[in-house]
Symmetry: C2
Subunit: 250 residues, 2 copies
């Protein structure tokens, strides 16, 4: 696949470079002036969002500026700058109608994630290989951050990809994910919003329970789906620093 990287722009100590790998549009964030290898964090956005959604952008900047990490975000299939295929558009329309009619959104979201998972896993694997060939990223340890749809697509990725050594997941229930969750072995921080109106508490606890990782911690905070408190970003930074440093030393 053809890998094409734009010239860098920097703000607040972080350099952003847009890229395309084949049909996959992405952004690479590195500390300004970075040279040499460093741990890499892949960030998966939420449903209906894209590679530069506010939550992704804010996290990526902190991970790069404060943690010294390289961070890469890509548009999921049918999201952001990518074309929407007919099957996806049909399903999305159908999903809205069925949710309006009172069907269980968890089942519908699981079907949606399932529709995107295979392509997303292949996309991430190709992007990971290409990005690690850059001199200022290199072949260091890799982490994954993704909540909500970013978790629904991250769990199959973690199940398939041994290069990922630590992950922050959450804001999603177990629907459709039990089998792949059981194959996850990397250390996981799992974020749950205690008053999430989109994800059932019980189903989210069941997804945490299903994760095969021996080292996993659930962090539950009051508030709705979008309300992860700022101290969890501090914690994610320390979590990645600890595990990716350990992986680099091993």
């Amino acid at each position: 696949m053809r890998f094409s990287l734009t010239s860098p722009t920097s703000t607040d100590g972080v350099t952003e470079q847009s890229f395309t790998l084949g049909e996959i549009p992405g952004v690479l964030f590195t500390p300004r002036g970075a040279t040499g290898p460093r741990p890499l964090i892949l960030m998966g956005h939420g449903g209906g969002q894209h590679k530069k959604a506010p939550g992704v952008l804010a996290g990526a900047h902190r991970f790069a500026a404060e943690g010294g990490f390289a961070v890469v975000a890509i548009d999921a299939p049918n999201h952001g700058d990518r074309p929407k295929d007919e099957r996806f558009l049909r399903f999305a329309g159908d999903m809205r109608a069925r949710m309006a009619a009172g069907d269980d959104p968890a089942e519908l979201l699981a079907t949606m994630h399932d529709l995107l998972a295979e392509q997303t896993v292949a996309d991430w694997q190709a992007v990971l290989t290409a990005i690690q060939e850059l001199d200022h990223v290199g072949g260091g340890p890799v982490g994954y951050w993704g909540v909500s749809m970013g978790c629904g697509l991250g769990v199959p990725l973690l199940a398939a990809e041994p290069r990922i050594r630590a992950a922050v997941l959450g804001l999603l229930g177990v629907h459709g994910l039990a089998a792949s969750a059981a194959r996850v072995t990397a250390p996981v921080r799992f974020l749950l919003q205690w008053d999430d109106t989109r994800v059932s508490r019980e189903q989210a606890l069941a997804l945490f329970d299903a994760l095969g990782s021996a080292d996993k911690t659930l962090h539950a905070n009051p508030g709705d789906h979008g309300g992860i408190p700022a101290h969890e970003t501090d914690d994610a930074l320390r979590f990645f620093a600890r595990h990716l440093r350990e992986a680099a030393a091993a």
Copy 2:
């Protein structure tokens, strides 16, 4: 009440001073050579344990050495160096027999904590006042750390005591605590062991749910009752540093 403090002994940068306040035996931990006021952490031990149980001692040393905090631990009524009264001995014997006969341990433990709570709250309030009169402790912000029985007695303390500004609790279910938990307003870190054979997961989640605090975070880790991972002590240190510093600044 008469307050009597022994001469200090120091190990690994931490000074320990045993004390008695009336009939309450306690230990004060401070950073070696400490002068002037500092935040204070009260540590409540588990059932059948005492003020210098290994978990308390290890936490107290880290809080003093790494956080610069003063830390105080006391023997709960009928524990450690305190005399055991007849009512307690009768209940403890009865409890063992009923647990052997298959009665719900959660109900029995709640009754036990209830038996001790009123005296424990009064003890802590008197100790807090006396300890804060010492020059190298002073009237700074106060935190509480206690899991298992230390949580069962800590929740009524937090409900009664506005001087406590942050607490680490956990390893206990909601039995007998719903009303006092609802009156807790201080920020709380709540520790849950996902495979706790002594405390039901559901009941522990219900105690987290019942806490009135707007700022509360549940941390759940795999493992049994005694297996809280070391990274939670790192986290508790940062949690107290953040909240007690904020309280000091306000």
